[in-house]
Structures are given as C-alpha cells and as structure tokens.
C-alpha cells in the first residue's frame, strides 16, 4: 500500500438527528483515523458543513470518501487536499505564567499574532487562530512554560476561489 498522507475532507450534510453519529460511527466502525472533526451550520438552513482531517494511504482515503457518500444524509463530499484551500483552527491554551515568564510568553503571543484572552496571577490564556501547523507551533513554543489546558476546535476549511488566473 501507498504512503500515509493527511487529508482534509469537507462534507456537506443534512442536519438530521442521526447524521453526525453515522459519520463518526463510520470512522470508528471501519477503523479510519480521525485527527480532527468540526461541524457547524452551513450557508443553507438545515445543512451543516463538516471538516474532517484524517490520514491514510490512497486506498483508505478513497474508501473514506466513498463510504461518506453512501450515507443517505450526506449531500456532498470534497477532498480538499488536491486543490488550494484555506484552513483555520482556533485554539485556547491556558499556560502557567509567573511574573518572570509573563513577558516572554507575551512576546511569543505577538510573534504568532495570537491574543491573550484571560489572565490570572498564575496563568495566561492564549487564543490562537491559524492553520493546524501554526497552532501546533505555538503550542510547542508554550509547552516549556507549563501548559495547564488546551481546547481546540479542529480545522475548518473552504476551497480557494481565485488562484491568480487573469
């Protein structure tokens, strides 16, 4: 089999009570990996758009998209990996901050264009938005200070419309 590769799959699905468990159950029941899964209302009432980040070789990814398409409430499945797409994730990171480390942390936050959204005598909570890679990077930079809690949304993604053609 081929090499494992990360794929970002966008799923447009009717918001029925059973649609989300069916999609999640597909991944657990057939042994597919989920790196992240996020879901929210789409542009059309009654529809949700789900962004799934998964990994697998070409055969596995083909099965995932075909099996998703078989779910009755799934209207459209797009593997964004093969075209330019915008991807964002939001993470909240609560990090230990003492008087001596606080300014250093704030420097890192500025470099990543992140934000401090909560402060306490012993902690800072950082809001960071960006690609998964950027979020991973800031978490990596903050880890030495002592991470208390992390809450991440998982990626959301849309295909890019304009690719510079004239």
């Amino acid at each position: 089999m081929g090499e494992m590769k990360e794929h970002t799959i966008s799923v447009l699905v009717e918001q029925t009570f059973d649609a989300l468990p069916r999609i999640a159950g597909l991944f657990s029941g057939r042994g597919y990996q989920i790196d992240s899964i996020s879901v929210g209302e789409a542009e059309e009432p009654g529809m949700a758009r789900m962004t799934i980040v998964t990994r697998g070789d070409d055969g596995v990814i083909e099965q995932i998209t075909k099996q998703l398409n078989k779910i009755v409430n799934v209207v459209k499945v797009t593997d964004l990996t093969y075209e330019p797409f915008v991807e964002r994730e939001l993470a909240l990171v609560k990090v230990t901050a003492t008087q001596s480390t606080r300014s250093e942390i704030m420097q890192i936050v500025n470099i990543f264009r992140a934000k401090i959204v909560d402060i306490s005598p012993k902690t800072l909570t950082v809001e960071c938005t960006g690609s998964r890679a950027k979020v991973q990077a800031i978490i990596g930079m903050l880890r030495p200070f002592g991470i208390r809690e992390i809450s991440r949304t998982g990626s959301v993604a849309l295909r890019r419309e304009f690719r510079g053609e004239t």
């Binding site: 009717e14 398409n69 009755v72």
Partner: protein, 595 residues
C-alpha cells in the same frame, strides 16, 4: 389476539382470513399516527407484516387490526420475524416488513438486520419506542434502537411527530428497495403513534443526497466491450447483485452469445443455469477446481454485482494474476476495495449489461473453453456415491434430480450450505436463499417461512426446501411452530451429522482433531419427534436407499411443514477447500476413492 385480524384456531391451524379490498387511500383528517402509518404502509403495497406486538406498539397493532388489510404473521421470536421478512424480500424482490415492540423486541431483530445488511436485502423494520419525553430515562423496555442498529442499517429514522410519519414511510421504502438495497429502521415513540395529524396520500419522494447511479458511464462501457472482445481467456464472475437487479437474462446473453464461461459467488447461484456447458461452478474457498483455475488463468474477468469477498479471492496478492478486471457494481465503494480494478463501472447490473452486451464482439475463446473442459473432466466435484453410509451430498444431488432444479432452496450456514451450493442444480434466479455475508446460523427455517408467505402474496409458486444442519436448526427451531400454525408448505431437510460440522472440519484439518465444543450428538434431540410435537410431519432417513422415497414423500406432503432428519456420515468434509491464507489454485481436493 383479538386485533381485528379474524383468526380461527383448531388443530394447530391458525389462518388469517383475507378480507382485503382494493386499497383506495383518501385523505383523512385528524387521525392518530398509528392510523397514518397503516395507510402509508398500504400505499407501499404491503400485504404482510412479520413480528410480535408489545407494550409500545399496542395502539399500532390495534390500528392494523381495524384496518384489516394486512396479514400479520406472528412468529415465536423477533429474530425469526426478521429472517422471515428477509426471505420474503429475497424471493419476491419486494420490501419485507417487520413490526416489533421496543427494547428486547428491537434487540432481538439485530441478527436479522445484520444478515439483511450484509446480503443487501431490502427490509423495513418498525420498532416500538418509549414516549419521546421518556427517551433517555432508562424507561421500561427502552433501548437506543437507532444507536444499536446504526452500523447494520442502510438508514434509520426516528419519528418525532405524527405529521411526518407518511413521508418517513415513503422514504424508508424507497431507500430500502433502491440502489444497493438494505435494511431501514423506523423507530416509533409511543406518543408519536398516539398523536393526531392529517393523512394525505402522496407521491414517491426524492431524498436529497441519495441518488443511486443506475446507468454506467458510456465511455467505460465501450472500453469494457473492447477489452472483452479481444480477450482470449475471459471469465464472467457474478454475484448477488445480478439476482437483485434482475440481470440474470443479460448475464446469460453475454455468456452464451459470446462464449464466455461463468462462475458465481454463493449469492449469485441461480442467475446462470448450472446444467449449461459454460457453467464453471461456484468459485472461492469451496469453489470447483475449474472455477478457481479459470480465475487464476483468466486474461479478463468481468465481475458483475459481486464484491471480491475474502471467501472468494483467497490470498489477494495472488488472485487472478494475469487478468484485467472489469468491475460492474451499483456500490462504488466495493470497486477497487479488495482487488485493483482496470475498468470500473458504477451502475445497476442490468442496465449496464443492457448497454454493454450489444457492443461486445465474440472473443476467440476456443482454446480456453477446451482447457476448461479438461479441468472439468479431470477434477469434477466428487463424493463416494457408492457408499453404504448416507452421504450428505447424495441427499442434495437427489433433491436436485427429483425437483429438476425447480425448487426454491433456502439454506442455513455451514457444511450443508456448501454442499447445497456445489451439488444442487440451480436454474433460476432467486431460488437460492442463503445467508452469505454474515453467515447466520438459524437463518434457514424462518427465511423459508418468508418465502412461503411471499408465494401466498403472489410470488411464483415453487416447492420450498430449507436445507439446514442440526446445529442451525436448533437455533431457530421454534419457528417450526409458526410454519405449522400457518400450514406453510416448507420442507425442512436437516442434514444431521451430530456436529457443528464446519467447526468439526476445521478442527480435523487445522487443530489436531481436537473437537472442542463441536460434538452436538451428545445432546441432540430426536428431530423427527421435535417436529411432530410442533405440528409438523417428522421423518428420519438413515440409509442411502431410503433417500429417494423420503424426498418424494416430503415434497408430496400438503398439510403444512415436513421435517426430514437425514442422519448423514459425520466424517464427511467439504472439498475442494482453499485453506485460509492460500491462493485460489492451492486447493485441497476431495480424496478420490482408491481403485
């Protein structure tokens, strides 16, 4: 009882009187959800329900009784009801309907639903549920039916209001019966069935996000035709999809007009006549030498409505090494899943073949057919036909002769199932009803009941023979009482070897003859007496010389079910056999008698 279905009881005979009038469905205003559901079922042409009532569906049962146009086949167990509906669907091609109560009623259908799911059989399972406000409270007889059945259903619905019932039923039948068919569950909270709404007869619905692909891609079809036309060693490999889509006639045309030999999976048996010179026999783990060798040597394989299951391919890495594979299936997810496919065609088997067959030019397959004839002559299916001991294959071969392949055969799972696949002379599609994918022991008898009921509902009349083992028979034998109660003409042939025979065979071949927990003879009942006690005719056959007469007597019996206990050689094994992990050509063949 007393549900308005008129019943007369006497001498173990419960018959429901049919006082059906043509269904004219008028709008009805402000009626209960149960009344709406009953009318929505009638809209779908439902004639029969299989199931058992209970607390959560009493109102619905009452509405069914007052409506008076359905027959309710009351089984002994919900598993039996589900297999019966499955058998009904497989034989008639119509959606089978199950009605059970909440909690244990629904969990008892699980094996039946999974069986139907694996073999793509269209059933709709109506399950009772506790009232919506009590859902999640661990109420009496509450279970999360949708959650339990999610991985084994094509789709499921929870009714949330009486106003959505009719539309939901229409969607459920459409989804169950179209595309790659499969089971659909409708979970029905008690308060929703009691709530009132209007019933408006409606048109078939369109389900967004669900559009089965019927026609194949024209370019792919012409590529396939071109490849077949210049093949030298073509093989048609057909499966259950051919039966389900009604493509049997077109498979026959493709094969016979263009001289292409045919092999089939277990599920495809009957789609091609087994007495035709182009017939290779079944392929796979217990396939014939000719079929397996033909696959291994083929230059083109045309797979139609089959899914390259592991029991078919043997060791995948060495499957059909020389072949270009053309794969026709309505479910794109089975294409390219287990083996690499050169020409994929997504579509309904019949529609694709209708487009494909006229484009094919007859390939030059003369040398190939001669080779196949040699394989067939040198490696036929074999058993000791002159034995003094009753051989199981003899029973099946004799049954084939006596019925001339015109019976509908229902099997259970195990050795007898493989012998049936090997030795019965199938001629017609939908005459082999068997649990292929899930391999459900206990399927045979209740599924045969479903076939008998389908015949009463208008499906073609044929003798019905359930071939089962002593192990599987005892898993659902309570349904013999059901068969007797409705005086259904099912002939149950128990191939009784006193063992879980396939387990015994593997223990003999691969586990040093240590027969752990497979020796049923230590506690088997007298099957003929069990049958008599349940209201069926019971017979026992111990010698080869008695077989013919016993089969003729059983087929002639016209007063309900017959059970024949065939006491067969317990040491008989199923050959050829491709051991697990071996390639298809690495078969263990039956030992020829020393002459």
């Amino acid at each position: 009882m007393g549900m308005g279905i008129e019943t007369s009881i006497g001498q173990g005979d419960i018959r429901t009187r049919d006082h059906r009038s043509p269904v004219e469905l008028e709008p009805i205003y402000d009626v209960s959800g149960a009344e709406i559901l009953v009318r929505a079922l009638a809209e779908q042409g439902v004639k029969t329900l299989f199931g058992i009532p209970g607390g959560a569906v009493l109102g619905l049962a009452d509405a069914i009784g007052r409506f008076g146009r359905f027959r309710w086949v009351l089984t002994k167990h919900e598993q039996g009801a589900t297999h019966a509906a499955d058998g009904y669907a497989r034989y008639s091609g119509r959606v089978g309907v199950v009605l059970v109560t909440s909690g244990p009623g629904s969990t008892n259908t699980v094996t039946g639903i999974a069986t139907a799911y694996m073999d793509s059989s269209p059933i709709v399972v109506l399950t009772g549920q506790v009232p919506l406000p009590m859902v999640g409270n661990d109420a009496f007889q509450e279970v999360d039916t949708i959650g339990v059945t999610r991985p084994i259903t094509k789709h499921s619905f929870l009714l949330r209001s009486a106003g959505e019932i009719a539309e939901t039923v229409r969607k459920a039948f459409y989804i169950a019966g179209s595309g790659r068919p499969g089971p659909v569950v409708i979970d029905m909270p008690k308060d929703v069935l009691a709530a009132h709404a209007d019933y408006l007869p409606g048109e078939p619905v369109v389900v967004r996000g669900y559009k089965p692909k019927i026609f194949g891609h024209a370019h792919q079809i012409s590529r396939a035709a071109e490849r077949i036309s210049r093949s030298r060693r073509p093989v048609l490999y057909i499966g259950g999809g051919v039966v389900a889509s009604g493509a049997s006639e077109w498979v026959r045309r493709l094969a016979i007009e263009h001289q292409i030999p045919v092999t089939s999976t277990l599920m495809g048996l009957g789609a091609f006549p087994t007495d035709h010179p182009l017939w290779l026999g079944m392929l796979g783990m217990h396939g014939t030498y000719a079929a397996n060798m033909a696959i291994q040597m083929a230059d083109v394989i045309i797979a139609v409505g089959a899914r390259f299951d592991d029991r078919v391919t043997g060791r995948v890495a060495d499957f059909a090494p020389a072949a270009d594979i053309i794969h026709i299936d309505i479910d794109s997810s089975v294409i390219g899943r287990n083996v690499q496919v050169d020409i994929p065609i997504v579509g309904d088997a019949r529609h694709v073949l209708v487009d494909l067959v006229p484009l094919v030019k007859t390939p030059d397959s003369r040398e190939w057919l001669e080779q196949i004839q040699r394989w067939r002559a040198e490696h036929p299916l074999w058993y000791d036909r002159n034995s003094d001991v009753l051989k199981p294959q003899l029973v099946i071969e004799k049954l084939g002769e006596i019925t001339d392949g015109e019976a509908v055969i229902v099997t259970d799972v195990g050795q007898h199932q493989m012998w049936t696949a090997q030795f019965y002379r199938f001629k017609h599609p939908r005459t082999m009803i068997t649990s292929g994918g899930l391999g459900t022991m206990g399927f045979g008898l209740p599924a045969a009941i479903g076939v008998a009921v389908a015949q009463e509902d208008g499906a073609p009349r044929r003798p019905i023979v359930a071939i089962v083992g002593d192990g599987g028979f005892q898993m659902t034998m309570e349904e013999l009482i059901t068969a007797a109660a409705y005086r259904l003409p099912v002939k149950i042939f128990v191939i009784n070897n006193g063992y879980l025979g396939m387990v015994r065979q593997w223990q003999e071949l691969f586990f040093g003859r240590r027969y752990v927990a497979s020796e049923l003879f230590r506690a088997n009942p007298d099957i003929a007496r069990v049958a008599e006690s349940m209201g069926a005719l019971g017979m026992r056959v111990e010698h080869p010389g008695e077989v013919q007469e016993a089969i003729e007597k059983a087929l002639a019996w016209d007063r309900g079910p017959v059970v024949v206990d065939f006491r067969v050689d317990p040491r008989e094994n199923v050959f050829p056999m491709v051991p697990a992990g071996a390639a298809l050509h690495e078969m263990i063949e039956a030992k020829p008698s020393e002459e």
